[in-house]
């Protein structure tokens, strides 16, 4: 407990570093998943291809990916871009599927009605299909958020600054409090971001709350 109290600034710094790795990956995977998911939903062949490819992506172990990516991206082994890129790929693996499934689950009647009222394809996507897919998207993004925050810590073994560094440092110096503090902060950060995503999803879908009330 004394270790924690004496090192509050360090903990805060690690938390911010952690956030700068996790947040971009989460946001990027959502932004990239929307067009990719739409393509997957729209064209059957691309669906098969994208779902298979992203499925395989998901199977790739994280630590080896952190090691291989620098070669592909031309970055150094301790560059934080590797971690963001790897975590974005994992996020994509889940989100592309979520987006295409969510779009496919929009009732055909609704899409049909929108079309009959003169919505063009572009407008229909942004104003009808995507809003109706928000609940499923939120569910997918929540899973991505929690696992991304947790996965960032693995980069600690390569020496990248994040809450993961508290684990390696605490292990090497034999300070269990440091590890414990890191774990608690990781879980809390994951849960807070998860709650934020959930709240955002709720805020964007007022029609669902109206039904439940």
């Amino acid at each position: 407990m004394t270790w924690i109290l004496n090192n509050l600034p360090l903990l805060w710094q690690r938390l911010l570093e952690h956030l700068t790795l996790a947040a971009p990956a989460i946001v990027l995977s959502l932004l990239l998943a929307i067009p990719l998911g739409w393509i997957a939903y729209r064209y059957r062949l691309s669906r098969w291809l994208l779902v298979t490819l992203t499925g395989l992506l998901y199977a790739i172990p994280s630590l080896p990916l952190f090691v291989v990516l620098p070669l592909i991206l031309g970055t150094g082994i301790r560059d934080s871009i590797n971690v963001v890129a790897a975590l974005t790929l994992y996020g994509l693996a889940l989100m592309v599927r979520s987006v295409s499934d969510a779009l496919a689950a929009v009732p055909a009647v609704v899409v049909d009605a929108a079309q009959a009222q003169g919505f063009g394809a572009w407008r229909r996507f942004w104003q009808v299909e995507l809003p109706l897919a928000i609940p499923a998207l939120t569910a997918g993004l929540r899973v991505v958020t929690v696992s991304t925050v947790s996965l960032v810590t693995v980069s600690g073994v390569l020496g990248l600054p994040s809450l993961g560094l508290l684990f390696t440092d605490g292990f090497q110096r034999g300070i269990p409090e440091e590890i414990l503090a890191g774990m608690v902060l990781t879980v809390v950060l994951a849960l807070v971001l998860d709650a934020l995503v959930a709240l955002l999803g709720r805020a964007l879908t007022p029609w669902r709350r109206a039904v439940k009330a």
Partner: protein, 221 residues
């Protein structure tokens, strides 16, 4: 591209596989750890998941648990346990079991939960005992989803076994961390590529099994 060829040279060098720190032994360790963890966690999680699915008791607990477990950082758990229990196998094995239980539990539970109520009701009305309903109806119909759980658990475990080497156990993490320490990037890369290949092969094999165990006549489940 230079690094890739170096890594390839390292990977294909007979000495790598047979020398003092033989890669063959590391690969075997990696697979054995994975198998051990999956078996142990399956023995705990599958009966529990079936029980929850069949009786409907503790349903919320399972849903919350399998969601929350994703947030636990395995590196934190393994280092903490290693400080407490000492270097070696126990800490990583416990960590990996903790990691593997939620997806297995979710697979076992959700498989049973997805069996239509009218099917189990009909089975009961024909005079099947609760045990027979579980074993002859619910379990066969749930194998597809159960294998889905096994698959995602196995992939997570294969990936995370890498960390075992960080706390003094074996596996393919050994050459990776050795390479990291000695600035031998070819070795790190070679070990990484081998692990990625292993995971992909495992994924393909398990998805094949998943397709086979799904009972015929049930495309939907």
């Amino acid at each position: 591209m230079n690094y890739f060829s170096e890594a390839w040279t390292w990977l294909t060098d007979p000495l790598t596989w047979t020398g003092a720190d033989a890669l063959a032994a590391r690969l075997t360790e990696h697979l054995l750890y994975t198998l051990l963890v999956i078996v142990v966690s399956a023995l705990i999680a599958i009966p529990l998941g079936w029980w929850v699915g069949h009786t409907g008791r503790g349903r919320n607990a399972v849903v919350v648990l399998s969601g929350a477990a994703r947030a636990i950082p395995s590196l934190g758990l393994v280092t903490l346990l290693a400080l407490w229990m000492g270097l070696g196998l126990p800490a990583p094995i416990i960590t990996l079991v903790v990691l593997a239980i939620p997806p297995l539990l979710a697979g076992a539970y959700s498989g049973i939960d997805a069996v239509p109520r009218e099917v189990t009701d009909a089975a009961r009305a024909q005079g099947m005992s609760e045990w027979q309903i579980l074993m002859k109806v619910e379990v066969p119909l749930s194998l597809g989803l159960l294998m889905g759980g096994v698959r995602s658990a196995a992939l997570q475990v294969v990936s995370t076994v890498m960390l075992a080497a960080y706390v003094g156990a074996g596996g393919l993490g050994r050459p990776l961390f050795l390479g990291l320490k000695t600035q031998d990037y070819a070795m790190m890369l070679g070990a990484s590529i081998l692990t990625v290949g292993l995971a992909l092969v495992l994924d393909v094999v398990l998805s094949g099994i998943q397709r086979i165990v799904r009972p015929r006549g049930t495309a939907a489940l």
